[in-house]
Amino acid sequence: MPTLTASSEDVRVYEVAVLYPSVLHQKEEQQTLKEVETLFAEAGAKLMEKDAWSRRGLAYSIRGHKEGNFVMYYFEMDPAKLKEVDEALRIIPHILRHLIVKPPKGYQVIKFSAEYDQWLKTRETDAQKKDREKEEALQRQVADKAKRQARRATEKKKEIVEESSPIEEDKLTEELEKLISDDELDI
């Protein structure tokens, strides 16, 4: 993250944000950006840093566009020429909005294009976490059901076994009684 400081006392650092619609063709896009850059070059501005954001949704529709691209420029420029540049930026076609801000002293340029993506990723992970938790809960429920069913099945089997075993005992007792009652046996 480079810090921005003016090279001399005659110039100041300005942050220029430009918003243009995302539906532009590549040629038009390049043209508009070139126009902006040439405008600043004519005003004797020195480009220090540039940060182009990817397509972003707008909070409200501007001239019928609901999505736009941002480009941030950091220029070193003579303050006297700021007004001309500001008015000229308004005239350039395909530019929805522009904003010129004087950043504070010792301002560190942060590439928000990358940070925003990271933030989105963290948000996605949060959503994924919720999904995961839901899925895990469902899986647990399914597993519990399966366990219960298995238990029931085993209990039924046990009951069957228990039912079957007394009969055998009865048979055994009968046989034993027969054996006992038999007079032919000599012990």
């Binding site: 909070a59 409200y60 941002f70 909005r97 904003l99 504070p104 928000f112 925003y116 933030w119």
Partner: protein, 78 residues
């Protein structure tokens, strides 16, 4: 008495300013993730009373939010 103390809200004076904790000298209008929690559902800036932001940072927050509203990052009114 015990019930009453449970129902009572936390003292707003005890809240710490989230920007003072980071020692923020400037609130960037491009930083959407940090601005977002200070905006309510309708797009208004949350009161200082509820967020605990100090006056110095609330003023900075106001300029930042207004700038990002102008550039279409935040809504004026939802």
């Amino acid at each position: 008495m015990a019930k009453k103390s449970q129902q009572r809200r936390t003292d707003p004076r005890k809240k710490q300013c989230p920007f003072c904790e980071k020692e923020a000298k400037y609130i960037d209008w491009k930083d959407y993730p940090t601005l977002k929690p200070f905006i309510d559902y309708f797009g208004n800036i949350r009161q200082r009373y509820y967020t605990g932001v100090c006056l110095r940072h609330q003023k900075m927050l106001k300029t930042a939010v207004e700038r990002s509203r102008f550039m279409g990052m935040l809504a004026y009114r939802k």
